[in-house]
């Protein structure tokens, strides 16, 4: 009788794991990979110098500055109103929100933020929330496209085209709007615009639900984002993260609720925040923020009061053109405002607004006159990116794309 032999064949992973212990000296060197400034998956011009051990990242060094255009130096050479177009191009996915944040900062310096008419405040809130929906739509679309779900990108871009139609009717440009002015807005709402906005909020709710159905319970999406890019609560605060990135790490903090500006204290909305702090949480927060923005927009449409849109002060807001051409006082105001700008007091002020990407802050140090002596733009994407060199090591190379997409940064803002 032949004996039965017991042959054990382990699978390849087990065999290689046993082999590694014996072959320590034959382990390969680390590889340096340059994810260069021109890359489809980095959102904009970001360069990542990576050191890889196989698939695992051991060191990551982000290099920025490829879009540094010298905004802060330009700001020292422009009056306050002349600088508004440059603020559009900071976070170029939500230009209206940047305009509002800058106008509020300068109005705080001038001390006239209480004199803003109610209608102006409500219209500015509408602009901010429209910008928030627009920025999150593109952020999620690009995130999904990088992770592999291309359809979502085309759907969200379709919705953004509707937002562009609305913004074009309001300001004249699709984006890069330059809509606010110091002390008010450049023009009032056109006829029938609120009706169009009401129609839009219904359509975008449908689109958000469609994107939700495509992604939220998608096994592949969940596998690529759950547990990836975890930021703990202490790290989030220590690295200065703001916006959805901060709220993903179990911190319920939103500037619109903590330090309300404009009319946010009269509106009813919730702040979503996550538990774990991974990419999936940040995605869910952005989805929910879009729904809350729709809620805010609906309330604003019903509550929008009538009235003037600019502060009634010839030293801050350009007077009516008819009066400029016929009356001496208005002509002098127009001349002084255009050539010398608003006469700001000596002092310094910091104002931070809740932008879609995080806290956009303007620190203005003024020595009097119409030109700031120093303007510092506290860009949320600049601070959000600084966590990359701490967070990436330990992840695999294909997780980089998911992490970059979930951090949702814009290089125009980061480099200024």
């Amino acid at each position: 009788m032949a004996e039965v032999r017991n042959i054990e064949i382990s699978d390849s992973a087990v065999r290689s794991a046993e082999a590694i212990d014996e072959l320590q000296d034959l382990q390969g060197e680390k590889m340096t990979l340059n994810m260069g400034p021109s890359h489809p998956a980095t959102h904009g011009v970001l360069r990542l110098s990576l050191e890889l051990d196989g698939e695992i990242i051991t060191k990551a060094d982000p290099e920025i500055g490829y879009l540094h255009r010298g905004d802060e130096k330009i700001a020292e050479n422009m009056t306050y109103n002349q600088f508004i177009p440059y603020t559009d191009r900071l976070d170029y996915l939500a230009p209206l929100a940047n305009n509002v944040a800058y106008a509020l900062a300068v109005e705080k310096l001038l001390g006239v933020e209480d004199k803003l008419p109610e209608r102006c405040k409500y219209i500015r809130v509408i602009c901010c929330e429209l910008a928030r929906i627009s920025a999150h739509l593109l952020g999620l679309g690009a995130f999904a496209m990088d992770v592999g779900a291309l359809t979502v990108f085309l759907h969200t871009f379709n919705e953004r085209e509707k937002i562009y139609n609305l913004i074009e009717a309001l300001t004249g440009a699709r984006f890069t709007t330059t809509y606010t002015r110091i002390g008010g807005l450049s023009r009032d709402l056109p006829e029938g615009w609120t009706g169009e906005l009401g129609k839009f909020t219904k359509e975008v709710s449908v689109a958000i639900e469609e994107a939700d159905k495509l992604l939220t319970r998608n096994k592949i999406f969940i596998d690529r984002t759950k547990g990836v890019g975890v930021i703990s609560r202490d790290e989030a605060i220590d690295f200065g993260l703001t916006g959805p990135n901060l709220r993903g790490s179990n911190i319920e903090y939103d500037l619109r609720k903590a330090h309300p500006y404009l009319v946010y204290d009269q509106l009813d909305f919730d702040i979503p925040y996550g538990e774990v702090g991974d990419c999936y949480d940040r995605y869910l927060i952005r989805m929910e923020e879009m729904r809350q923005s729709v809620r805010i927009l609906d309330q604003c449409i019903t509550k929008l009061p009538n009235g003037p849109v600019n502060i009634d002060d010839g030293k801050i807001v350009l007077p009516d053109k008819q009066k400029v051409l016929s009356s001496m006082e208005e002509l002098i105001h127009q001349f002084m405002l255009v050539t010398q700008g608003q006469n700001a007091p000596v002092g310094e002020v910091y104002f931070g607004a809740e932008n879609p990407k995080g806290e956009l802050g303007f620190y203005i140090f003024s020595k009097g006159g119409g030109v700031p002596y120093r303007m510092k733009i506290r860009a949320p994407s600049f601070v959000n990116l600084s966590i990359l060199s701490h967070m990436l090591p330990g992840h695999m190379m294909s997780d980089i794309v998911a992490i970059l997409g979930s951090l949702d940064f814009v290089m125009g803002e980061c480099d200024r």
């Binding site: 260069g36 400034p37 021109s38 890359h39 489809p40 904009g44 011009v45 500055g65 490829y66 879009l67 540094h68 255009r69 010298g70 905004d71 130096k73 330009i74 177009p85 440059y86 559009d88 191009r89 170029y92 996915l93 593109l138 990108f153 085309l154 871009f157 379709n158 953004r160 085209e161 562009y164 699709r174 984006f175 890069t176 290089m411 125009g412």
Partner: protein, 175 residues
């Protein structure tokens, strides 16, 4: 605008077309321009919008917007080119195979735009030979499509099969 269009009714003339070789090659080339999108800043968003479903750029043959310079015909420089980025843009242009063209999209790429500062290259034509300039800040996607059509006109008028020197020797490259 004198171009030799190839339009025919296959039922009458059959499936054979008689034309000059030059015209045929330029027709092929102009109707399948694959762009290399150098989307650097805000114009990149309008470039993406031109590629999305409303202003479909693939109607004009630019179906493949891959970010590989080795497989593309035209480089669309969309956005501000800073001095730090200039060498990278130049290097990617060098990697594109002939024949290649450049569209400078937007005010920043054409002339530095409103960013007159120490860090901005005043127009990408200081480092690359540009064929079409598109004005606007940002230009509408329809303007980009018009630029693509102008480039198609230009391609149809260029000689393709003649004894052609590479772009370097034609005096088109500013170094």
């Amino acid at each position: 605008m004198n171009t030799t269009e190839i339009g025919y009714n296959s039922k009458i003339e059959g499936n054979v077309v008689h034309t000059r070789l030059d015209t045929a090659v330029s027709w092929f080339r102009k109707n399948s321009i694959w762009p290399m999108p150098m989307g650097l800043a805000c114009c990149g968003i309008e470039l993406m919008a031109a590629g999305a479903s409303r202003y479909d750029i693939s109607r004009f043959g630019s179906e493949v917007m891959r970010f590989s310079p080795r497989q593309s015909d035209v480089m669309i420089v969309a956005g501000t080119v800073t001095y730090k980025m200039a060498m990278a843009v130049r290097r990617i242009y060098e990697q594109m195979p002939e024949p290649k063209w450049v569209i400078a999209m937007g005010a920043c790429a054409s002339s530095g735009g409103m960013y007159r500062s120490y860090a901005t290259l005043q127009g990408v034509d200081r480092i690359l030979p540009v064929d079409v300039y598109v004005s606007g800040c940002p230009p509408r996607p329809e303007a980009l499509l018009e630029a693509l059509m102008k480039l198609q006109d230009k391609i149809s008028k260029e000689p393709h099969i003649t004894d052609k020197k590479p772009a370097r020797d034609r005096g088109l490259v500013l170094s």
